[in-house]
Structures are given as structure tokens and as C-alpha cells.
């Protein structure tokens, strides 16, 4: 997978393992800026069911570093134009 530069006003989102199967995509661009708290809702809107099947147990990185999804009352993180977000579900088989 090569990672294309997102168009102006967008960030790149990469999907791995079951996130790839669910979205049928490796990569796409989404409008930036976006609050990390809202990321899962934006994805659920596009891919119905992805929250329960994939996102809830996946880890999320921004620019190759792990981020915690902020809970109610916790400080939010803003995904900026040009950022690279990745959705990484655990792989269990071997």
C-alpha cells in the first residue's frame, strides 16, 4: 500500500486487517480538522456496523503513534490536515 498525500483540507486514514475487509479499502481521505472523539461516529456514518465489529477493539494511531480515544470529560485531540490516522484491529491467528 502506498500512502497518497491527502488533498488540501483532508487527512489520510489507513485501514488494516479486518478494518480493510469491512471498508473494502486500504486507505482514503477524510475532511480535516476532525475531533478524535468524533472519528468513530464519522466512520460509523460511512460504514454501518463498523463500530461494533471493528473499531471498539482496535487501536488508533496518529502519525505512527498510539492515541487513546478520549472518554467523556477527557481532553480531546484534533486530527489535523495532512495527518495520517490508522485503524489497527488485533490479529489473533498464527
Amino acid at each position: 500500500m502506498t500512502t497518497p498525500k491527502p488533498p488540501p483540507g483532508h487527512f489520510t486514514i489507513l485501514y488494516f486487517a479486518s478494518a480493510t475487509s469491512f471498508t473494502a479499502k486500504n486507505v482514503e481521505s477524510l475532511p480535516a480538522p476532525l475531533s478524535l472523539k468524533k472519528l468513530f461516529d464519522v466512520l460509523e456514518e460511512r460504514y454501518k456496523g463498523i463500530k461494533d465489529s471493528v473499531l471498539d477493539h482496535s487501536l488508533v494511531t496518529i502519525n505512527l503513534a498510539y492515541v487513546d480515544i478520549p472518554e467523556e470529560g477527557e481532553e480531546d485531540v484534533i486530527i489535523k490536515e495532512g495527518d495520517e490516522v490508522a485503524i489497527i484491529p488485533p490479529v489473533s491467528s498464527g
Binding site: K48, Y66, V91
Partner: protein, 471 residues
């Protein structure tokens, strides 16, 4: 991932020399050891002491399959002195494309015995300890406690959580890898090993710190169901051996290798990294798709290693079934069962076709196109399950003609609405597909029958066509 090279650059607090005097670290290498390990010993950062540390180490490899085989080969080749291997399975022909420690001549043999046969031939010097049964909450601590480092080469979430928990409790470093289809993951956990509950500084994470909860049971796939490319899982297994050798040769498996002040740790010991490999069969060769992701340190609120974890996770608890790993990871139960009138056995469907009752009908096969490519029932049209769900979701959201989901043209005013039969691999997806189609109104308010073929192509092979190539 660099080797921590010389004695001098090792983080403070590692007392190799004193530790070693009693355990044969100061002995000479035998001629045989010298010949066998010379090529790795002369690599900068290795040397005699690192080799002796490998020889004096004990490694447990949990799982003798696609990860365990390549990992064990390199661990044994490098001269790790004691190697335990645990697995309850036997060698099958479908293992051999990736499980390189087995052989055609050993099909039917216990995997552990087969792999040790291979390893003894490669290097007779280590002591090999076979455990020919699966790891379980009852036996995990007794076995793991006898080793310095653990490789998780298993194939299911419940076992992964169990192994990580017990490694935290026993203060053992864990090299964890996993792989399915075209993806691989690798992470070193709990290294340097840190006592449970310590959160006053930055410490290495456990499996639960990274993956808080398992995927829902109905989305967990095995390599048998989803497939696996040999080189992908092989690469992950080899990388596991590489990390294990690095940790042992540099004595990072000793609890005392935790830097006293992580802030100025020159070795980035507490910078856990998740390596991701994705292998795209449709892409041009390269660019290689490795990604190294910076993971967070130990989580304060982690169930297994966090602040209050000594109250939530104990060795006695694990042994007596608390936590319940099977329940935590969900039990694989067949999901929906449709009412009887919406289902037909493979043999009854076949008979209806044979005696002419079923001339005009639509047969949807919801298997993946790769499965479909090996063979299908005459007249079947392939609509892979994932695509069907996607289309259904789009129609539900944005509206549109529900029947466009069908791969065939049917005019609105056609009086005789042909029934639809749905078949999948083993009879689960097809039931969900029938439900989805009805939900969308493809049954035209009950005028059209939509029927599930019970047991899928597996049943078709068993009941109708024994020569059908079912995979």
C-alpha cells in the same frame, strides 16, 4: 530495533557479571559450540558473553504452527540452551505450506514431536522439552515459570490474553506475534519485565494495555477459514526469534534491566513498538509495507498490570477460572437459526432441481470469490457476503431499488417471481443474507420465497457431490 551492543552501554542496574559467575557465564565455549555459533558471535554487539547468555537461557514457544516453526528454527539455531514447545495439535497436509518445521513424512504426528525432530537435526545441543497438550489456565503458570522468555505463537484471542496475564504475574518478557491472510503484527511486551501494579514511572505495556478487549466472537477468523500466506506468517515468526535473541543476548529479560530513570534511558527501553506488515497481493512489487508504530507505556488502569491489578488478577485466580478467558473472548456459537419454512437441506434442493420442481430460480453463492473459483453449483451466481452487506447498508441509508442487490435482471411486472436460494460455505452467512434480503423487501412482501440451503457447500459435498472441492 538495534542491538544493545557493549557491556558498557547497558543500562544501569544490570548485573550480568555477578549474576553470571554462578551460572556458567564465565566458562569457555566447547569446540563444537565455537564452530557452530562462530558466525553470529563475531557480529558486533554479540561476542562470547552474549553467546553464553543464550546458552544459559530458557525459552518457551507456545504454538508449533506457522509462527512457532520459523521462530523455533532460529531460536534453536542460535543456541538457546533450553527450548520448551507446547501445542496439542497434529501435523496436517494443509499446514505444510507455512509450517516449515514439519514434513510430509510426519503428517499425523504431534506437532511438538515433529518440530523437535526437525530442531534436533538442526542443532542437537539444546535441551528440548515437549508439551504435547494445549496451554490452559490450569497449566500455564506451572510451565511458564520454568522459562526466561515466552514467544506467543498461538492462534486465538483467549490464549493470547491468558499468556499475557500469566507473563505479567510471573514477570516474564513476552514476544507476541500474529498473522492472518495478508497481515502480520509483532510486539514485545512486558520487557524489561516489571512487577504487576508498578505505575510510578513509564513501564512496558502488556497485551491488555494494547488491546483492551477482543474482537466480537462472530468476527474472529482462523487461518483455516480466512486463509494465510506462508511468507507473511513466516516473516513474523522469524522476527519473533530475532527479538527473543536480542533480548536474551543483551540480558534485557532480567527485571533489573529497567532503567532507574526512564526519561534519560539511552536505549529507548520503554518505547514499545508494534510492527505491522501488510502484504498486498494486487500491488506492484514494493514499496514494502512495514510500519513501526509507537505504542503507549503501561496503562494505569490496566486490568492485568495497572495500579489496582493485584486485586483483579492473581495466579490463584487464573488457575481457578477467574478471569474466564473463554467468556471474555466470546464463545463461537452459530448465530441465527431461521424458521424451518425458510430453509432447505442440500439434498432436498438437489432433488427439487432434478425432478423439475425448480426450473426458474435464482441461486446466490455468498462465499468469497476465491472459494467460488474452485467450483460451485450449476447456475450459481457469486455475491460475496461482505459485498452483499455493504450494498444492503447503502440501500438502507440512501434508498434505491433493493433488487439491484441481485445480480440478475427481473422486470417489475413479472408475475411469476422466481424464488431465491442462498448458499454459503458452512451455512451461517447464508442465513444472515436471507434475513437481510427480506429486511430490504426483496421478498416482495412474502410473494417471493427466499430460502437458505442448510449447511452450505460443506453439506452439498456431504449429501450430494462427494467430489466437490470444498475448502
Amino acid at each position: 530495533m538495534q542491538l544493545n551492543s557493549t557491556e558498557d552501554s547497558r543500562p544501569n542496574g544490570v548485573a550480568i557479571a555477578t549474576n553470571g559467575e554462578h551460572n556458567g557465564f564465565s566458562r569457555r565455549l566447547t569446540d563444537e559450540e565455537f564452530d557452530r555459533y562462530s558466525r553470529q558471535m563475531i557480529v558486533p554487539g554479540m561476542g562470547r558473553e552474549a553467546q553464553l547468555r543464550l546458552i544459559n537461557s530458557k525459552v518457551l514457544i507456545i504454538g508449533g504452527g506457522g509462527l512457532g516453526c520459523p521462530a523455533a528454527q532460529y531460536v534453536a539455531g542460535a543456541g538457546v540452551g533450553t527450548i520448551g514447545i507446547i501445542d496439542g495439535d497434529v501435523v496436517e497436509p494443509s499446514n505444510l505450506h507455512r509450517q516449515v518445521g514439519h514434513a510430509t513424512s510426519r503428517i499425523g504426528m504431534k506437532k511438538v514431536d515433529s518440530l523437535i525432530t526437525h530442531l534436533r537435526d538442526l542443532n542437537p545441543l539444546p535441551t528440548y522439552t515437549p508439551y504435547t497438550y494445549p496451554i490452559s489456565p490450569e497449566n500455564a503458570a506451572d510451565i511458564i515459570s520454568q522459562y526466561d522468555l515466552v514467544l506467543d505463537c498461538t492462534d486465538n484471542p483467549a490464549t493470547r490474553y491468558l499468556i499475557s496475564d500469566v507473563c505479567v504475574l510471573l514477570c516474564k518478557p513476552l514476544v507476541s506475534a500474529a498473522s492472518i491472510q495478508k497481515s502480520g503484527q509483532l510486539i514485545v511486551l512486558n520487557c524489561p519485565p516489571t512487577p504487576q501494579g508498578k505505575v510510578d514511572k513509564k513501564y512496558p505495556p502488556c497485551y491488555r494495555c494494547c488491546f483492551r478487549k477482543p474482537p466480537p466472537a462472530n468476527t474472529q477468523l482462523s487461518c483455516g477459514e480466512a486463509g494465510i500466506m506462508g511468507p507473511v506468517v513466516g516473516l513474523m515468526g522469524v522476527a519473533q526469534a530475532g527479538e527473543a535473541i536480542k533480548i536474551l543476548a543483551s540480558a534485557l529479560h532480567l527485571p533489573s534491566s529497567i532503567p532507574s530513570n526512564p526519561e534519560d534511558d539511552p536505549h529507548n527501553l520503554i518505547q514499545p513498538t508494534l510492527l505491522i506488515y501488510s502484504y498486498d497481493l494486487t500491488a506492484a512489487p514494493g514499496p514494502f509495507t512495514f510500519r513501526a508504530l509507537k505504542m503507549a507505556p503501561r496503562k494505569k488502569n490496566c486490568f492485568a498490570c495497572g495500579e489496582n491489578s493485584p486485586q483483579t488478577l492473581t495466579l490463584e485466580g487464573v488457575k481457578s477460572g477467574n478471569p474466564n478467558y473463554i467468556q471474555f473472548c466470546g464463545i463461537q456459537t452459530p448465530k441465527i437459526v431461521l424458521p424451518e419454512q425458510d430453509r432447505i437441506t442440500a439434498s432436498a434442493y438437489h432433488a427439487a432441481r432434478q425432478n423439475g420442481q425448480l426450473q426458474n430460480h435464482i441461486l446466490l453463492d455468498t462465499r468469497e470469490k476465491e472459494h467460488f473459483s474452485f467450483g460451485s453449483i450449476d447456475g450459481a451466481v457469486n455475491v460475496p457476503f461482505g459485498k452483499l452487506l455493504m450494498k444492503a447498508a447503502t440501500i438502507k441509508r440512501h434508498g434505491g431499488d433493493a433488487e439491484e442487490i441481485l445480480p440478475v435482471e427481473i422486470s417489475e411486472d413479472q408475475k411469476d417471481v422466481p424464488p431465491i436460494f442462498v448458499v454459503c460455505r458452512r451455512g451461517l452467512d447464508s442465513q444472515e443474507a436471507v434475513e437481510k434480503l427480506k429486511e430490504l423487501g426483496v421478498d416482495r412482501g412474502g410473494k417471493r420465497k427466499i430460502v437458505d440451503i442448510i449447511g452450505g457447500m460443506k453439506a452439498w459435498k456431504e449429501e450430494v457431490d462427494p467430489s466437490f472441492p470444498f475448502i
